[in-house]
């Protein structure tokens, strides 16, 4: 057991202590234990990060888990640059969310429960990223799903929260099923689930085919797509994106944690981790790229018209995750993970700002009822503004560098790359538009809420604003580790840090084209901001008119393309129908209850007939005995005669 074991272990210890002693003893002091645990984990992660940047690579088994014949699984630790950067993302965001929650959850009845779940969530994600085998990855994968269920449904008395928790869990189940199949197939065909063995033998998969429904499919493609299936569920890509927006029912710090660090990034991480596998299958890569780009565009358009502040940010997450998959799909894993890194900071910041706004507005989420908050909550405004420019991709903030890296590498990625580049560029414009829509509607103009709300407006306490300010620094600076050479940097993260984890994509285009890509993305982003300013700052009446002019489009976007309704019709209702009519109405009522009630009834009936024999007359018994005696005698005599 080395010191690296502490990274996942500390939050686990924190969880155990807080869940056991939180209710009776720690109560409203629970956060000391939780924060200390995560802080320790964060410090260890930073140390590890610098060691890894200095060339250290760790791969060790910590604890034997399953030993069964040739099948050996251990809880292990594998720390390479990919894991190291994930450790930084997870522990730093988690730490800030923990600190923020002290203010946000102040006085909540489930205070200890909240913090222990946060610790468990962090532990699960750390297990996921430090895994050195697929089963441990799967363990973390399911554990974050479980924690998301706990935390989304944290307000247990609220039906919508409980439903959203269930939805997240069930939708993820669809993806996880594919993922589990993928894991099993890897074991079947490679014979091991340790990363080291898998990547060493990955080439043996090439060229093999497997018959599925009579078609010969490339084995690598099948496995990659099955694994990607899990990523689609966990990272909320089309068609399994529906749970993420509903996950807003949880407390806002949880949203920040889910969206920035501990859950949705797992899919991107997994695809990046399995880059040698995905690289073997152009088909799978294409699917990843197109899914990512489509989701990105799809979610960005939905975000344009929503009014719920958290929902807009949630769709923005879906959209940005699409960006990361787009990057992975064109082979730019490094850029994808880089975007994951920068995204974690500005997205956590956006959410925590939204939480701060909610705190001030007494739980109000509708941006149409806000306005002018700039004057009341200057820190929240400033940090939200920074996050918005960062996500819009304006240099020199974090979002710009990672987004630009993705777009540039997509541009280099052949016909599919060109297509997703166009889509990505459009999304950049839309992102800038909806981000500034929130800024203008919530922070500028006149206050449109009720009088009580206006009276109640206040800046949040220090425990909330300090994490905001720290995250704002991240939202500004996180991108500086990957400044492209063209702009005078050395793209440290892509060229140096990730050099032995990901192959750097082959660059064919010229410097002029790179300038063009940068120029286009910046112009599009500025254009988005400009349009947003025009609509919501200079002509606040205009959006309504435009909406009224295209009621069809507006309605479709407002209803999120009716995906939920579609699923309701195609999956939820038939399932309920089967459950009610067949399982409850027939299987349960007729078969199960039939057997359970039928057996005693049959015995009762039989007994009813039998007790007629019991007449109570001694002679009746005597005669039956006599008859029996004669029958037995007769049998003995007759058989004896033979």
């Amino acid at each position: 057991m080395s010191k690296y074991t502490l990274i996942p272990l500390l939050p686990l210890i924190g969880f155990v202590i807080t869940i056991l002693f939180g209710k009776q003893f720690l109560k409203y002091k629970t956060h000391y234990v939780s924060i200390l645990a995560v802080f320790g984990s964060f410090v260890m992660s930073v140390i590890t990060f610098f060691e890894v940047a200095g060339g250290a690579r760790i791969n060790e088994d910590v604890l034997a888990w399953i030993f069964s014949g040739a099948f050996k699984v251990s809880f292990g630790l594998m720390i390479d640059p990919l894991t190291a950067i994930m450790l930084i993302v997870v522990t730093s965001v988690s730490l800030l969310v923990h600190i923020y929650s002290v203010g946000y959850m102040h006085g909540d009845t489930g205070y200890y429960r909240f913090f222990s779940y946060l610790n468990l969530f962090t532990f699960s994600m750390l297990m996921l990223v430090t895994a050195n085998n697929l089963l441990q990855l799967y363990f973390g994968w399911e554990a974050v799903g479980l924690c998301s269920y706990f935390l989304i449904g944290y307000y247990i008395n609220k039906k919508s929260a409980a439903d959203a928790g269930k939805k997240a869990f069930i939708v993820n189940r669809f993806g996880d099923f594919g993922f589990a199949l993928g894991v099993i197939m890897v074991f079947l065909y490679i014979g091991s689930i340790n990363y080291a063995d898998i990547f060493a033998n990955i080439n043996t998969l090439q060229g093999k085919t497997i018959a599925i429904l009579g078609y010969d499919c490339q084995l690598v493609t099948v496995i990659s797509l099955l694994l990607f299936c899990g990523a689609v569920g966990k990272s909320a890509q089309i068609p399994l994106h529906v749970w993420l927006a509903d996950a807003m029912e949880g407390p806002t710090p949880v949203s920040a944690l889910i969206h920035a660090a501990t859950m949705v990034t797992a899919g991107v991480f997994m695809v990046a981790r399995f880059n040698p596998l995905f690289d073997l299958s152009p088909v799978a890569m294409g699917v990843v790229a197109i899914t990512g780009a489509t989701t990105s565009l799809f979610a960005a358009t939905i975000a344009l018209v929503q009014n719920d502040i958290k929902r807009i940010i949630a769709y923005s997450t879906v959209s940005q995750l699409g960006y990361m998959f787009l990057a992975c799909g064109v082979g730019a894993y490094g850029a994808g993970v880089f975007h994951l890194f920068t995204h974690a900071y500005f997205k956590a910041l956006l959410f925590l700002c939204a939480g701060s706004v909610m705190h001030a507005m007494a739980g109000e989420l509708d941006i149409q009822k806000m306005g002018g908050l700039r004057k009341f909550m200057p820190v929240t405004f400033a940090t939200f503004f920074i996050a918005s420019i960062s996500i819009a991709g304006i240099p020199p903030l974090a979002g710009f560098f990672s987004k630009d890296e993705i777009l540039w590498l997509a541009y280099n990625g052949g016909p599919v790359g060109k297509l997703v580049w166009v889509m990505g560029t459009i999304v950049a414009g839309l992102t800038a538009f909806y981000s500034f829509r929130i800024v203008y509607l919530a922070f500028f103009g006149k206050f449109r809420g009720s009088h009580e709300q206006q009276h109640h407006l206040h800046e949040s306490p220090k425990s909330m604003t300090v994490p905001l300010m720290i995250l704002a620094v991240g939202a500004i600076c996180a991108g500086w580790i990957g400044i492209p050479e063209l702009l005078g940097g050395n793209n440290w993260i892509g060229q140096t840090f990730f050099h032995d984890v990901f192959k750097h994509p082959h660059i064919t285009a010229s410097h002029a084209e790179e300038w063009m890509v940068i120029g286009v993305s910046v112009i599009v982003a500025l254009g988005g901001i400009f349009v947003s300013t025009y609509f919501y700052f200079w002509n606040p009446e205009l959006p309504k008119k435009v909406g009224a002019q295209y009621p069809g489009i507006y309605k479709v976007l407002w209803n999120k393309y009716y995906v939920d309704e579609f699923y309701d019709l195609v999956i939820v209702r038939p399932t309920f129908w089967i459950a009610n009519k067949i399982l409850v109405g027939f299987t349960d009522a007729k078969i199960i209850e039939g057997i359970v009630n039928g057996v005693p009834k049959l015995i009762g009936m039989f007994g009813d007939k039998l007790r007629k024999l019991q007449t109570g007359y001694v002679q009746h018994y005597a005669i039956s005995m006599a008859i029996g005696l004669f029958v037995i005698l007769a049998i003995v005599l007759i058989s004896g005669l033979k």
Partner: protein
């Protein structure tokens, strides 16, 4: 010398009289007497065989059976007496408390 089968036939006849009496008569005393008859029929055959086989075990058994029969008769009579005291009935058709 009386042959063995005579004893056996006698035993069978007395046994059948006992069975018939037990089945046909309704008076509890008569039924009890019929049971004694059956027991003694068996005793006859046991003694007969014991003599025929020159084995004393059969006669030892008879002594046991007579002892048990005496005890049984005492208990049976006691039951009938107490039954009569409670119900003033001695006819087995009138006593069917155990009807299912």
């Amino acid at each position: 010398m009386v042959p063995l089968n005579w004893y056996i036939i006698l035993s069978a006849v007395i046994f059948m009289i006992g069975v018939a009496g037990f089945l046909i008569r309704r008076n509890l005393f008569i039924m009890l007497m019929s049971i004694e008859l059956m027991l003694n029929a068996v005793n006859i055959s046991l003694v007969a065989y014991s003599h025929y086989l020159q084995d004393m075990k059969g006669q030892i058994f008879v002594i046991f059976i007579i002892t048990v029969a005496a005890a049984e008769a005492a208990i049976g009579l006691a039951i009938i007496v107490s039954l009569f005291r409670n119900k003033q009935k001695i006819h087995s058709d009138e006593i069917a408390e155990m009807r299912g």
